[in-house]
């Protein structure tokens, strides 16, 4: 602010506090609900203050799941989510680094074609080609497997473009100096290019981890065995039952557990997160 106007400043603070409250309120309620016993939701007046059942609720969902809705222990689902998120994030980064390296540091027939093939994936989100993609994965026998959960999602035009963009800003002379110094392509890639990409890789990792963790439709389609349920899709199955059996305490405990890892990643790595978000949209 250029002028010193206390009223304006106060309004701004009020707007922000209202915003923070709006953003936080649903989560607050979820946390509160996860600390009550199942009977507290019968009365019709929702509790607004914490109850005494937090430990037992979380212990129950983590260790044994919800047998009435056929839900396995949340700890299993969270492990699945973690495996899926890590495989997707690391897989996307690795194959995108390699393709961007090929496209920027080599000239070869069909280079433009390869670039466009990768580009086209931007226009084919999984949501719009659900049935045929499911058929392919089913034919390959990848249903109910970690490979099926992650591999079909690890092509990444966005990550490839990000690395391509970054590689183009790396001075040409670095590669030339490395060649004079006797480094071949892969040596240059590992010794020079990879260390220089560290920040970009970390920023992208944050975004892709969240992307992988929050996958919903894909695990829903290709898992029928509860051994491979991920936590985000598992909530839906729990919530379905919650309408008839009021198990809101366990559903909300699961909700809290499902958002905890990605939210922690964003808060702890805020700088990298912002960088990753802004750069992937370029």
């Amino acid at each position: 602010m250029i002028e010193n106007r206390p009223l304006l400043k106060l309004t701004a603070h009020l707007v922000l506090i209202a915003g923070v409250a709006l953003v936080a309120f649903p989560v607050y309620l979820a946390i509160i609900a996860s600390t009550h016993g199942p009977t507290d939701f019968m009365s019709g007046v929702i509790p607004l203050l914490p109850g005494p059942h937090a430990v037992e609720n979380y212990r129950q969902v983590l260790a044994s799941g919800v047998s009435t809705s056929g839900i396995p222990p949340i700890s299993l689902m969270m492990t699945n989510s973690l495996i899926m998120a890590l495989t997707i994030a690391i897989g996307k980064i690795v194959i995108s680094l390699l393709s961007a390296f090929a496209i920027v540091y080599f000239r070869f027939p069909f280079r433009a074609l390869a670039f466009w093939a990768i580009f086209v994936t931007l226009m084919l989100p999984v949501e719009v080609r659900i049935v045929p993609t499911f058929q392919v994965v089913a034919n390959l026998g990848m249903l109910n497997s970690y490979a099926g959960l992650s591999i079909p999602l690890i092509a990444s035009a966005t990550a490839t473009f990000l690395f391509r963009q970054f590689f183009l800003t790396v001075p040409d002379e670095l590669m030339e100096a490395a060649r004079v110094d006797g480094a071949g392509p892969m040596k240059f890639f590992f010794d020079i290019l990879l260390p220089l990409s560290r920040t970009n890789i970390a920023a992208l990792f944050v975004i892709l981890f969240i992307y992988g963790w929050n996958q919903y439709l894909w695990p829903l389609l290709i898992t029928t065995s509860s051994d491979y349920y991920t936590v985000v899709m598992g909530i839906k199955r729990m919530a379905d039952v919650a309408d008839s059996y009021p198990q809101w305490n366990t559903v909300m405990a699961t909700v809290v557990l499902a958002m905890l890892p990605p939210v922690l990643v964003v808060i702890c790595m805020q700088r990298l997160f912002v960088k990753g978000l802004v750069e992937t949209e370029k």
């Binding site: 001075p171 002379e173 670095l174 030339e176 100096a177 490395a178 060649r179 004079v180 110094d181 006797g182 480094a183 040596k187 010794d191 020079i192 260390p195 220089l196 560290r198």
Partner: protein, 352 residues
């Protein structure tokens, strides 16, 4: 056997642009050859072809008697200093210098010895564990040279290594490179667009224009006997005055004045006359004009001397004059006919 030999070297880019058109050049062991020319003359392309960073369209490059056309840069036994230094930003100074040796499998003790030696010569011993971004421009420059020195190559290739430095540092580093090259006596090829840098560094100068060699010679040979109007105007500061003239009787007709030739014989017909600014003297007019009438436009004071800019007829002329003389609006410019450079008006080649 020459250290580096180029035979009928050509580079045509895909798309048809010809950057280097038929260069023959032999560089002797231990000498410093400077390739100089305006931007786009092909000097960097030529250097990069020697380095192996640019493919060769035609002709051969030999290093130490061996044709290296198909060799990777690393196999050519050369080291290169880049314009932007190209230091690996994530490695320490020490690691930067050691990288090339490590890739060649040089024993560790030997690497350490060479890095220590190079850093002693370049006085960068104090920053060996720093990263390039923690260094000043001049220090980075030294590290870039250190990286070349430790390799103990058959030749150094310099690609405008000083152009990222400020003027003062440039002069300083110029001197150091010269000293270093003398001391190591390593064959060097140095590319620059700065004619002063070229003059001061070179054992031999190669002036390039549009992908061809205009002239090869020691700096003084080239300064004193430029073989074309291009070289004449490119080498030397201020640039040589080039004025159209015709041979007329026993004098030389320059726009509206005649210069007596005093016995110097010149061919008939249209000519281009070159005069170095310092070869001309200005005299105040007393009565009859004696020499070329120069209308003074403005004066640049340089401290030790002054540059007088003026017009001779319709042509511009610059004269280097002592600082204490008085200047009138119009003065007489005189020059010893023996000091005139004479070029054919059509081809621009030197006559005599």
């Amino acid at each position: 056997m020459s250290a580096i030999e180029l035979k009928n070297l050509r580079k045509v880019y895909p798309g048809g642009a010809e950057a280097v058109s038929g260069i023959d050049l032999a560089i002797e062991t231990g000498e410093m050859v400077v390739l100089v020319g305006p931007s786009g003359c092909g000097k960097s392309t030529l250097l990069r072809m020697i380095a192996g960073l640019e493919t060769i369209t035609d002709g051969t490059v030999s290093i130490a008697g061996r044709v290296v056309n198909d060799k990777e840069p690393a196999e050519r036994d050369i080291a290169m200093v880049f314009q932007n230094y190209a230091l690996y930003p994530h490695m320490t100074v020490r690691a930067n210098m050691a990288y090339g040796l490590k890739n060649r499998g040089t024993p560790k003790a030997e690497i350490e010895r060479r890095v220590a030696e190079a850093s002693r010569i370049l006085q960068i011993g104090d920053y060996l564990d720093r990263k390039p971004r923690q260094l000043s421009g001049g220090q980075r420059q030294r590290v870039a040279m250190g990286r070349a020195i430790v390799r103990e190559p058959a030749a150094f290739l310099f690609d405008e290594p000083l152009s990222n430095l400020d003027a003062k540092l440039r002069v300083e580093m110029r001197g150091e490179i010269k000293l270093l090259q003398r001391r190591l006596a390593t064959t060097s090829v140095y590319v620059t667009h700065d004619q002063l840098e070229a003059m001061t560094l070179a054992d031999r100068l190669v002036v390039l224009n549009k992908g061809r060699i205009e002239q090869i010679g020691t700096p003084l040979e080239i300064y004193r006997h430029p073989q074309s109007t291009f070289v004449a105007s490119f080498i030397g500061s201020p640039a040589m005055n080039l004025i159209s003239a015709t041979r007329d009787g026993d004098g030389l007709r320059l726009s509206d004045a005649t210069l007596p030739l005093a016995g110097r014989s010149l061919p008939q017909g249209p000519l281009t006359i070159g005069m170095r600014a310092e070869d001309i003297t200005l005299a105040r007019r007393t009565g009859e004009p004696q020499g070329l009438p120069v209308r003074i436009a403005y004066v640049e004071e340089l401290g030790a001397s002054r540059l007088v800019h003026g017009h001779l007829g319709s042509e511009r002329i610059v004269v280097s004059a002592p600082i204490d003389g008085e200047l009138d609006d119009t003065m007489d410019a005189r020059i010893d006919p023996a000091l005139l450079h004479v070029f054919a008006a059509d081809t621009g080649r030197r006559l005599q």
